[in-house]
Symmetry: D2
Subunit: 290 residues, 4 copies
């Protein structure tokens, strides 16, 4: 049942990102071949074939990958520096470490924990942090540590400091699974890893608070959810994934919220999976999703 | 193929709309029964069972309907006036008269003409008016009169006056099928029939001009279209129908526009059909769609 | 969050089902009014206005419902017997009792338990029965009794007897949440309550075993799931709900199964909710879903 | 509006198909680079990284493509023959020639003609052939030749012979746009180009005739359409694309047919576009769609 998320032994993921140039694809694939790699999947995109930005993701198999990595990295440095592009090479057998921040709502949190247990998310989950305690038992039933960091009062700096202390050095990215606290710029800078959020509307519609109430008032016929990277501009970060569900006049704002929860958990799960699989490349305020 | 849009001989549609009260449904259905009507479909909705607004749509069959209409209307007056509700009774064998206003884009216009020829829209189309001439031959091939009313220059009042002259007394509602001119408040008041528009975004996102360019810049993963009644507030009228299509990073703003055209024509066609079938009830800035 | 599934105090659901006749709707709504009921929702359908079958579902509010029920039932008997229709009247404040039968897969089972805890399924769950033990702890964490009834060997009669003993008198309907055992005709007759199944294909395609493998071999571009009432004809019972998900050539049969699990849990959940809310009427081998 | 289907001047599409081997991707991309090609898009797939079948589609830009083609072809022969793979190289500025066969239904036929006029299908349409005459005027309004080849009586060989005569040498593929005649094996062999069909069900469900009636009888909640390559086995050829639409109990078989028409025209249009863009590779009874 978990077949398509294998431990990925001896699989590497190479991301190349920079100015598009003739010969770049051949240079990359030639490099992989001469390093005894066998390409498994390859995606690429150029936002303008005449001098635009180039994006490539290659997954390749290489026997004894971990031993060969330094040599491949040296070759990449030598081969790609003339092109002026950036690259990252990841050993896919090493799962990313993901922390989840949550509040009282459990739908996004439990979905991530369940998909992880099912073997569908290539991550480890070193901790769940919540400003409430209602989900503690559920989280621990999944064998995941739970930390309660209350966040009452207008000054959030103490709570943020505690969270940063828990995260420091322990995580590769953070997921806000309906964490109902505004994240400060200071926190974002200090955490220094990508932070993924789920917003309960089809951004840019209904930005800010209470989107389901606003959606009811505007009389929309579809509601949506948006997963995006968090930046200092609230609800303005690069969008990773979105989806919608049909609603009608008979539904109250509470009904929209209940229906929307199913969209939220699906959208966030896909965004998290794609990020964990190195499928998402940020480019300005947009994303390339391979 | 056109089976579900019959001439609807001897079918009436009754819309009741007003404050919710116990016994109202029984009063209406009892009235239909004692007037020899047989209920075919019945929909109702109350936005708050404790004293909210009540909406009902009943289609019933009555042999010799046209002869019986005055009597039924008198009974409705007598029966429903104590409840303080509004009602309209429509003979469904009489199709509504729909004018279409268009510009250069043909996708919404041709879709409406083709669905009409196919027997799926219970309307007659007395005219198509465009501020361009490129669609004239297509329109006339469908056997529909085409009028060219140019709209150059900043002053639109002359063009609007000509359009009003063509429409006056000839139409029951107007459809803006990607008509790329702003409608004035004055026009709306004078035309005095419902005006339905298709907006090329998932409102309220990307309100105003150039929504596909804005959608590309924001990096959304779905694009949409919205059909709504036109009010004096641009893009703010009651929404009748919306839908979306998935897009990705590889698509240009032009690609979004091309993909979006298919959403636009489908959304507008559904909205027009529902309006023509008396399924849409306006309520403040929202719609009830039965 | 659980707003739209209220305890439904003093709400009754009336189902009427039989030969269509003029005046039937008025008779029903008049009866409700004279019994001090206030109609909350009303749906009806006739499969042929000229002498077909008629189906109606009315939810109404009546202060002090439980005291008034005998009187309303007597009135229904008296009023509807001339029409030769069947009716059932249900007090919506009394949730149906639902047993779940499962095997090793947890996706449908946990989804039902979670939606129930969330307040979205108007049922009680007196027990989960499985022929495996792997889900026991999860089930009990939700506070639901778990019974293990092994089903090894070709003769299932002993296992079925044990299950019947557990169910007898305790449940109003049974859900097979990916229960991987064939149910015997004998069991169906003895259990004497509706049994709902989820089949992991878009029926009638890929009937029988291993549908995802068959879907892969046929090269379909969508996979689906179907929830239906169980009858003595395997995979042939009345369909309650279906849905699909897009797949492509790159996915293995295991990938289809993993993707399909999300369709299965959604489809089964909707079918269960609609059944629990008395929205589904069986008619021959089909269903009316209001 | 037609931006994403450019004349594709100096763009070539290379399809490679055969046993997967290490170094194949590098060999192909290296070849393109040394022939001054710049890769625009590249897709690849292997159905089993350990010795399965390999599929690749590369679109590249090469200044002065037509002059360079013989040289590139020679290089492909020399470079790829050691790998034992098949390849085809297509000049994308030369549109494929598509004939359409139709009967009385116009929805698929007109959609293809309209998308073609809009610039969204990279094909020329040398002719439409129908066994009826009702669409002749519409077809000719689009500037496309129309030929009437009646097909009455049990013996279809004369009609097929006439159609083959019209097609011979003039077309690169044939589309059956709801052509309601069974195609003989003899015809398929003689026509010797791909034939694409649209079947009005979600295959393999409701194979054969009258699928909407069968769908109504089975009480399905979704109907579908399937576009596939025609083979000698009726309704069994490789599937290119499928989609579905939601239906409910209130719809008659005629209603399903009317609703289904919109799915059919969308599914067939996508299949035709993908085939015309060389995105579909047949592999046994399946397709790879890039």
């Amino acid at each position: 049942m978990t077949a398509h998320i294998q431990p990925n032994k001896d699989h590497a993921c190479l991301i190349v990102h920079g100015p598009d140039q003739p010969g770049l694809v051949a240079a990359v694939t030639g490099l992989i071949t001469r390093n005894q790699g066998n390409i498994v999947t390859l995606d690429q995109y150029s936002d303008n074939p005449a001098g635009g930005a180039f994006f490539q993701r290659v997954v390749f198999h290489r026997a004894d990958l971990s031993a060969a990595l330094p040599e491949i990295q040296a070759d990449l440095d030598a081969t790609l520096s003339p092109y002026g592009v950036e690259w990252t090479l990841t050993d896919q057998s090493i799962p990313k470490r993901m922390a989840i921040l949550a509040s009282t709502s459990d739908h996004c949190l439990l979905e991530l924990l369940w998909r992880h247990r099912r073997g569908e998310l290539p991550v480890t989950i070193p901790m769940v942090i919540s400003n409430h305690t209602n989900t503690a038992e559920d989280v621990r039933t999944f064998g995941i540590p739970f930390f309660h960091v209350p966040s009452a009062g207008p000054d959030k700096s103490e709570a943020e400091a505690k969270i940063l202390e828990l995260l420091a050095g322990n995580v590769d990215f953070v997921v806000l699974a309906r964490y109902m606290q505004i994240i400060s710029e200071d926190f974002l800078q200090k955490v220094a890893v990508p932070v993924i959020n789920i917003h309960h509307s089809f951004l840019p519609a209904f930005i800010g608070a209470a989107p389901y109430r606003k959606a009811k008032e505007r009389g929309v016929k579809l509601i949506g959810a948006t997963s995006h990277y968090v930046t200092e501009d609230l609800d303005e970060g690069p969008i990773i994934e979105q989806d919608v569900a049909r609603v009608d006049h008979s539904m109250t704002a509470s009904d929209l919220q209940a229906r929307g929860a199913y969209v939220e958990r699906a959208v966030l799960s896909r965004a998290v999976q794609w990020h964990a699989e190195d499928r998402v490349i940020r480019h300005g305020n947009q994303t390339i999703v391979f």
